[in-house]
Symmetry: C2
Subunit: 418 residues, 2 copies
């Protein structure tokens, strides 16, 4: 994969022999990542690796600057160096990244904790800017490697042999069944992406949907699709922040937005839920990337991929969103293995178009996304990140079903189409 | 129900006309409980009730002391007065208690908060004393009104027409299916009651069980039963605190114990989980009475029924038990409607034996339990209390099933008996 090209980009350092200072840093890095059995290799081919196990891969560092960066601030600098090609991975990227992720499963570093305290909240304006950063890259970019319906959240592989497309539909049905949507009901969706869930709910469950988003490109795509599919009279795609949601609804749903809300705004979200979800027989579902321990998003991911992002713990969502909203949690499901599988699908598709992506957006961009996708898959396969779906109801309201068996007894997918 | 007898017990006050001071207090109490449409009535038959709705029942106060107590400390004094017969409920007890419970769904009072700060932790000795208070009342007492298997936790009414006995079996199967128990595996049960779940797991799922309890009466009953049923070689009933659990296990299960652990000891429980649950493919389940907002147990319930008890929020359990144990929550189910139904069954059975209970344990005791059961049913039917089942695994371990459908696809009950 363009290795020669990358090495060529750093002829000045890659031909310089490593000095004692470089070896000392390399040895320290090697010690830090010891349990991963990944070799640290310097630009002149030298390595302090002395593990008894055969290494599963190597981190090849091309210059001294990158090497120092790894020691001083690995959370940020690993990604930066990978992105710019000053660092390469030999061996299978996903395997190496997974091994490196496993060794970070322990307590957060002081740097990580400090970063957490420096987080700034998403104002209405910065929320728009942050969302623009990620989601307005151009629909064309996502169309190259997401499924045909452009669903950019964890799928649900109801059966192991499902295609990604089918698994995304199965996820929508799971969400709708958890909410027990009934024909004629009103649904508010906060953060609707390209509108696929909204359209699915309208078409298969006979509900009316108000779907909010602040990504203009996604919205215009969703509106156009609703028109084309003759559903525009039952779904409204609204260019506004979730905080400005008005009216009330039988069901509130948000898939993959909470990660972008940021901790400082959980009380606003609670406010919205309190105002919007009907006290009588109302219910809601949040689907989000979460953590087991409260810690900030990886510094590099936050800088390059998700500015303003924060993956909360279940405890944070329960005590800072659901309880202040006067709601009660009735169901939680952790779908993290399904997200690892979803991302494996995305990575396969991304691989097929990486030359095109590199041409269109630059090699740095391609490498950033390559690393981000591999890192995300590793996060979910190792347990570093979780994917929670939670269902909640107003305090005094019963859960939408008597037993959960009801969700599973019916034939899978498109249950309510008839 | 023995009203004349009770009124006779307070002839001095019940024949005294209420004075202006009494009317003033009654009016204040009436205002406090206004949304419940329950009439406050004094011993001379007078009432400040002026609601436009017909009252659903009355709280009849028999003397001035009880009246003042209700104003100063209703959380504690309502139960005390009911227990001693200085206060009666006219109308259906459960309906009135439910209406009164609904109006407490808001924020906790300063008194409730203060009580929370005064809670003392359960030492090994006080834990034993507290458990003795409740569970060593005598097996004979519980045998009169629990199901034949003596299961004193929330049942699972898989079908609405199930008997209580069948619903308790269904609960055990639900627990075992959530844990995906496999023949030959080892299970630790903390707080095993009369041993019914332990025996169920051994008999139907082919596992070996170490079951801990500090209630001697329950333990000797459980041991005797294991012997009688020829299962004694596969289940060990151990007279020890959950904190002293040793060894490791494939699955850890605790049904109805966490309520007795007390907040101050969550870190000890986390320690136990960390030590006991195998890192590789281990998993655990906690089934407990919980809350949406952190607040102490009702003062009267705590004094008379559950000394040392505390019903935690999901957030508290997640952040103070599961995360410090190095575990990850994979599933949460809130079964509160099932607990309301379970208690409705218990109350029916209790009604049938109340004369006997009164003779054996005294009328105060009978009334205390009558109120406790009605209050508990109301707690779960109104959303004042929750019943959570949570499944967790070591951080790096995948959930025990790929989709939850696997729990429900098999024929209900005693799935693994064949």
């Amino acid at each position: 994969m363009q290795r020669s090209q990358l090495v060529d980009a750093y002829p000045a350092t890659s031909q310089v022999r490593a000095r004692a200072f470089d070896h000392w840093i390399a040895a320290r890095l090697q010690k830090m990542i010891e349990p991963a059995a990944v070799r640290v290799e310097l630009w002149d081919g030298s390595s302090p690796y002395s593990g008894t196990r055969a290494p599963i891969g190597s981190v090849l560092v091309h210059d001294r600057g990158a090497l120092i960066g790894l020691l001083l601030d690995p959370d940020l600098r690993f990604g930066e160096a990978y992105m710019s090609g000053r660092l390469e991975i030999r061996g299978d990227l996903a395997t190496v990244v997974e091994a490196l992720t496993r060794i970070t499963l322990g307590a957060p570093s002081w740097r990580e904790r400090l970063r957490g305290t420096l987080d700034r909240p998403n104002s209405l304006r910065s929320a728009r800017r942050n969302v623009h950063h990620h989601y307005d890259l151009g629909n064309a970019f996502y169309q190259q490697w997401l499924d045909a319906d452009l669903v950019y959240t964890c799928a649900y592989f109801e059966r192991l042999d499902m295609t990604l497309e089918a698994a995304q539909q199965a996820k929508f049905d799971l969400v709708c069944r958890k909410l027990r949507l009934q024909p004629g009901e009103s649904v508010v969706e906060a953060g609707c992406g390209w509108g696929t869930l909204a359209l699915h709910m309208v078409r298969h469950y006979g509900v009316r949907v108000k779907a909010f988003n602040i990504s203009r490109e996604q919205l215009s795509y969703a509106r156009e699709r609703a028109r084309r599919e003759g559903l525009a009279d039952r779904v409204e795609f609204i260019d506004d922040d979730y905080r400005n949601v008005t009216g009330d609804c039988d069901a509130f749903v948000s898939v993959g937005m909470l990660e972008h809300v940021g901790k400082a705004h959980y009380s606003s979200l609670a406010e919205v839920l309190r105002r919007v979800v009907r006290r009588s027989a109302g219910r809601g579902l949040l689907h989000f990337i979460g953590r087991d321990s409260a810690r900030p998003l990886n510094a590099w991911t936050k800088r390059r991929i998700f500015p303003g992002g924060y993956a909360p713990t279940l405890a944070e969502v329960a005590s800072d969103v659901i309880t202040p909203a006067g709601m009660s949690i009735v169901d939680v499901e952790n779908l993290r293995p399904h997200y690892a599988r979803t991302i494996a699908h995305w990575r396969e598709r991304f691989k097929n178009v990486e030359e095109k992506v590199s041409e269109q957006y630059g090699e740095d961009f391609r490498r950033a996304w390559e690393l981000y996708l591999a890192g995300s898959q590793a996060s979910f396969s190792t347990g570093w990140m979780q994917l929670f779906q939670i269902v909640f109801v107003p305090l005094e309201t019963a859960p939408p079903y008597w037993t959960r068996a009801e969700m599973y007894e019916r034939p899978p997918c498109a249950v309510a189409t008839r």
